[in-house]
Amino acid sequence: MATKRIGRRVNGTTVYLLLAVGGLVSIAPYLMTLNAAFKPQSTLLSTQAWTPAVPATWSNFTQLWQQYDMSGFIVHTTIVAGVITIGQLVFTTMAAYAFARLDFPGREPLFWAFIAMMMVPQIVTLIPLFLIMSHLQLIDTYRALILPYVFGTPYGIFLVRQYFQTIPADLEAAARIDGAGTWAILRRIMLPLSKPILATLATITFVNTWNSLLWPLMATSSERDEVVTVGVAALQGQFASELHILLPAAAVALLPLVAIFLLFQRHIVRSIALTGLK
């Protein structure tokens, strides 16, 4: 008995040790980047990454802001990611409800068409999207960044539709008998019950849009609509070895999402796992 208990305790310690190492590796790049961002240029290279930035200095950020319109990048990215997220939430809910609950001719083939397009890699649509947008003279506008993604993705529609199908149909039937229309049902019954999946969709959409590089790289060319990814990539090209400018920029690009995450972490962690379950 006694040996067994000790064995279990050792086992438990190993597990904690493993988790602690994993956890440290997960957060170390964030912490070290943030730390380095506050080190003066002279000590950035000469001290270890984990040596605290004492005394801390804002001079790197001042220099970064002088070189680059970082605030502009953040604002543009927030606008684009915000509009796309709101749009996807609204349009995806509508489409998913139609697919999950309404009977209409062509429903099955249409749904399968959506599913089939889930596998299309982004690069396939890149050149055609660029052609469409330049034909419409929309290159280098917010519209070019927003339009292709604001109406929802097949993946999102699939995700929400699957969730809608798990909501008991009786609730709706009762409401229909009480005279509620589709819109009322969607708003009063489906939405309150689907908060977790909608939070998931919002998180994934916002994070993906915030982090996406390839399309904004093509679709923007001036400081008036360039987003953070394009800005940081340009900085890397320009100041390849000047870490006292690059690392603060990386920190500025990373931190907004971390802040949002820590605010809503409980919701987000639970909801990400949802996407893997049927």
């Binding site: 997960s26 509508m94 429903r107 890149l126 149909a169 390839l214 971390v258 796992a273």
Partner: protein
């Protein structure tokens, strides 16, 4: 399968034939109305581009002067272009470097967390943090970590008494370094799915097995892994599709070099389209990538189908 409420409502006792029909029309109209925005986006920004890409693959075009019809010349060129095969191999190498490692690590973490213990919620939050990091920013940070003069990686290696290679200027090491970004970023995220899968396995199955006298290792291979198949399937399919599309970190860290050692398909297509301005050829290459991803996904479906029922409807 899905209960049709609209129909259930319309089949109320008083409904006559024509009224039922008009209600059905109305429902259909409503459905299309709800679908309209998504359908528009779907057709304009997904279906149309796919059609355009196939048309484009038959042309030679620098995106500026007028395009020229070349028939299947781009396809013939693709099969003789050693660089395109090199890029495809690089992509496969990248996938092989990061998928097995990240899946095994994720499984280990999930097993560790799949128990009643203090702090498990805390760890879950910590492990998901890397998932939301911007790959472009990670490229900058990894460049710093792997810098031969001031990087933390070489510092650790020298503490062990070795000298690290020049990671990013080495044709051997550049790709593993790029893959390590992805492993770091997606291990925790993958873990969440596997953990959810583990938690869905009923405790009674293990209890029954324990009575039969199986040891922990046997239980893992005979019960846990087979019952984890649906989660494993989801994780592998999505991660592999994602890995085949590596672009951001290559763009920021190595621009495909040194030599051609980190030129992935996505980066090669980008180069062809927007640096060399062979839009038609780039379109052809993107069709090749599409076909490869489709093939790999179908193979996975086949493999997992054997023991898993996973339907989309």
């Amino acid at each position: 399968m899905s209960a049709n409420i609209a129909e259930a409502a319309t089949s109320a006792p008083v409904a006559t034939g024509s009224r039922a029909r008009s209600r059905r029309t109305r429902t259909a109209f409503e459905a299309y109305l709800l679908l309209a925005p998504s359908l528009f986006g779907f057709l304009a920004f997904l279906v149309a581009p796919v059609v355009i890409v196939f048309v484009l693959s038959l042309f030679s075009w620098n995106l500026i002067t007028s395009p020229q019809f070349v028939g299947l010349a781009n396809y013939r060129r693709m099969f003789t272009d050693s660089q395109s095969w090199h890029a495809l191999l690089n992509t496969a190498y990248y996938v092989l470097l990061n998928i097995p490692l990240q899946t095994v690590l994720a499984l280990l973490l999930a097993l560790a967390l799949n128990r009643k213990m203090r702090g498990s919620k805390f760890f879950r939050v910590i492990f998901v943090l890397p998932w939301m990091a911007m790959p472009v920013a990670l490229g900058v940070i990894w460049n710093w970590f792997f810098d031969p003069r001031s990087g933390i990686i070489d510092h650790f290696i020298s503490m062990l008494g070795f000298t690290g290679p020049n990671w990013l200027t080495s044709t051997t090491w550049a790709m593993p370094v790029i893959a390590s970004v992805n492993v770091w970023q997606y291990t925790g995220y993958t873990m969440l799915f596997l953990l959810a899968g583990l938690q869905a396995i009923p405790q009674q199955v293990y209890e029954a097995a324990a009575i039969d006298g199986t040891n922990a290792l046997q239980r893992f291979f005979r019960i846990t892994l087979p019952l984890l198949r649906p989660s494993m399937f989801f994780v592998l399919v999505t991660n592999i599709i994602g890995s085949f599309q590596q672009f951001d970190t290559v763009y920021v860290m190595t621009q495909g070099g040194p030599g051609q050692s980190t030129t992935t398909m996505n980066y090669y297509i980008y180069q062809q389209a927007f640096q060399l301005f062979h839009a038609g050829y780039a379109a052809t290459l993107s069709i090749l990538l599409f076909a490869v991803i489709l093939l790999v996904t179908i193979v996975q479906f086949r493999y997992f189908r054997k023991r898993t029922i996973y339907d989309f409807s």
